[in-house]
Symmetry: C2
Amino acid sequence: MISPQKNIKIKHLTIIGVGLIGGSFARALRQAGMVEHISGCGRSSENLQKALDLGVIDDFFLDIKDAVKNADLIFIATPVGSFQQILSQIKNAMKNGAIITDAGSTKFSVIEAAQSVFNEIPENFVPGHPIAGTENSGVEASFSELYQNHRVILTPVEQTSAAAVELVSQLWTSIGAQVVIMEARHHDLVLAATSHLPHLLAFSLVNTLTTLDEKQEIFENAAGGFRDFTRIASSDPSMWQDICLANKNALLEHLDLFTQDLQKLRTALEQGDGDFLKETFVRAKQSRDHLVENSIEKNSE
Amino acid sequence: MISPQKNIKIKHLTIIGVGLIGGSFARALRQAGMVEHISGCGRSSENLQKALDLGVIDDFFLDIKDAVKNADLIFIATPVGSFQQILSQIKNAMKNGAIITDAGSTKFSVIEAAQSVFNEIPENFVPGHPIAGTENSGVEASFSELYQNHRVILTPVEQTSAAAVELVSQLWTSIGAQVVIMEARHHDLVLAATSHLPHLLAFSLVNTLTTLDEKQEIFENAAGGFRDFTRIASSDPSMWQDICLANKNALLEHLDLFTQDLQKLRTALEQGDGDFLKETFVRAKQSRDHLVENSIEKNSE
């Protein structure tokens, strides 16, 4: 294990997918003085030009191979469905010893993609997931404070080099994030409950309401409670399609538990069992109040 | 129909239930100079003393009959389950010609309660529902701006006096609210979709998560999206027990539609049908983005 360097500085960072997440990572590292040169890579030259104009990146490439060939650190911030293809293109183009990390919202699927591309997970690949974001997308929405006081979960595998984990941890810490190490499958189970299922429910509820005759009036009479509850239904559909499919099993598991409990609540409601309703609401309120009191993250996801 | 008075002033307002809703109504009307004297009524002298100390009310009574006997306007802001009992106590104690209005979250149940107490709905009873609030309860949480730019739905019945509706409308308008007239059953259907169902889902989800082994980690890793989605699960359990029971039929109807659509989404997820997921998410995002763009209410519910 290489001992941690006190004054690390990344000479060349390449961001694949310069949107809210990738753009904010670039902005924050630059502000923290942790990086010398930042290249951007993506499918849309229009977006990359915007990132360049905003000073988020120093240059850009549409071809991943060109983008990564000089990179010391590669940060993948695209929807998780694209990882296999991206890793395949990186594989023979990147420098020996370059570190790869990512911001994918599911971790087991990302590790599987790496396994299938590299046969064995490269020791310099550090799977990661910053628990931060907003419902807005695109490099225009990126800002350097996004990760401050937010958690970043890293899910190294057995062969991941401790030095690579250490370096990636230091980068996140330098921009105000709190790093937590977790096993990938466990990450996926926890995130299915706390993020993926709520997104599915929010999308599903708003979709159902759009099918009603009273649709217009429903939205006209929606207040802040509804707006907050459905904020995550304004998230990027492609990204969430990928996340749901990539974390299908854990998501189905939690969805089924939720549905079973909801049916119990439905039965209680139909039977006019106020005590059951109230007990459920009290339990929920207590946990939710406790969460808010103990939360380290005051900003939005 | 009495023509609207330009400079109305309520001599004596009695608030039954001096919490967030009742307290904010009192504060706002006082600030707008629309009221001379405000009495409070409730079950807890401690809370009423607090309201008195905060200057929200001028005096208080624990006995409803004493509280309403001199009132020109009676505002009921208690959980809807208490309405029948409250109206029974008001019935023979109130002044002739006094106007009664309320803030109950369901309207058909309130009208039914009035019908059963008075045999015929009194012409001076104006059922109402301000679409405003926060997840906090109690008079300490009340503030005079709560209703600014928020909707208030009034649901008069056939025999309701137009003058009474006009007076209550003017009061709400004077404190910055936007008054909408709606049929009570329709109100309940719309609110079931936009408020009652989301509350039920938020309570239910948080309750399910509290039953999981990973409970601790789940809450530790929750970010802003989860916090917003579950904010309404911090609402008052007794109040929501009452609302769910009072609007049972409309709520069950929407809950079943939601559950059916959620099951379709579940099937698509299980079968890996990404197109179906994405189409649903896109439809939801479009409606939700549209809602935010067109919303008149920027504050929380």
